[in-house]
Symmetry: C2
Subunit: 155 residues, 2 copies
DNA sequence: ACAAATAATTGACTTTATCAACGGTTAATG
DNA sequence: CATTAACCGTTGATAAAGTCAATTATTTGT
């Protein structure tokens, strides 16, 4: 008891000194929210969002991913990939090619227009990235990426 | 030119060697997706999700946040906070107290039951966190947190 | 005292996410 | 082989999350 707290002191340093400020999961969520928002607004000028950008990226560098691989990689339900691919295919940025090795599967390939658009979008993406990294000492950039890779791909 | 790629070699190392594998925004998104999923399933046993956990956490350590502060901190629309708070309040885990200093605002405070539940949930959260960090050398844990803080709070 | 700004809330609406079911194809089994 | 089981993409139904404008109660500035 002794609830002697004054009423104001929600005050100064604010919430980030609370337990959550040290919660990795929360930090990840918030960092992601900021990054995603920035990326989406920047990519909008190319008619893309982070999601469609990712799909285009993979199609564009010739990895020939199947939709299922994409779903797993992007952590999406396969049905969401369908919609994503539909959108990009209608805009003739990518193409579904039925995998000759397994005719159930579609392999995604970027058209020339797709590769061109990606090249442009990639610049925007890079700018956003640099913006986000503005507060991080450049020396640490690579280490941060490395650490994030460990979280993103724990194998 | 020279498109000599065989058809199979989507093969081995897979997609993570593509451009996206170095894309910070993507890595953040994927790491977050994994963390969020793990957190949600672990917190489910307490009837919480990452979101409600965060709200409870802030209410529980006496920061007396207002809903607006919460919205900004968690990067949510104020209307989403309403729903979140409704849920926790119905379960009598937190309470809205109209801020005496500004009677428009509600200040969130955890009940004793709320603090108890949070204490338990926090352990689950910690386990999840350690699980996620399993691939990261312990020496680097604090540095990772520090770097994420920079991304999450660029000020 | 009045106008403008702000906190929470509601409601309409769009976007994302989750899940089960289906047709076509391949892999595994007997 | 001939089935059976498993798998890929797709669809459709449903639920959850996110976005936005409008409203009420209160506060702030003038």
């Amino acid at each position: 008891m002794s609830p002697a707290e004054k009423t104001r002191p929600t005050g100064r340093g604010s919430l980030r000194d609370s337990v959550l400020g040290e919660d990795l999961i929360f930090l990840l969520a918030r960092a992601n929210a900021l990054a995603l928002a920035a990326a989406n607004t920047a990519l909008a000028q190319h008619g893309l969002k982070a999601r469609s950008y990712s799909v285009l990226a993979l199609a564009a560098d010739g990895v020939r991913p199947t939709q299922r691989e994409l779903a797993e990689f992007l952590r999406l339900d396969p049905s969401q990939v369908v919609a994503l691919v539909d959108g990009l295919e209608e805009r003739q940025l990518i193409e579904r090619q039925t995998d000759p090795a397994d005719r159930r599967a579609n392999v995604l390939v970027a058209t020339e227009a797709g590769r061109d658009l990606f090249a442009q979008a990639q610049e925007s993406a890079r700018d956003v990235e640099l913006g986000l990294l503005a507060t991080v000492p450049p020396k640490e950039h690579e280490r941060l990426a490395e650490l994030l890779r460990l979280l993103a791909f724990p194998d």
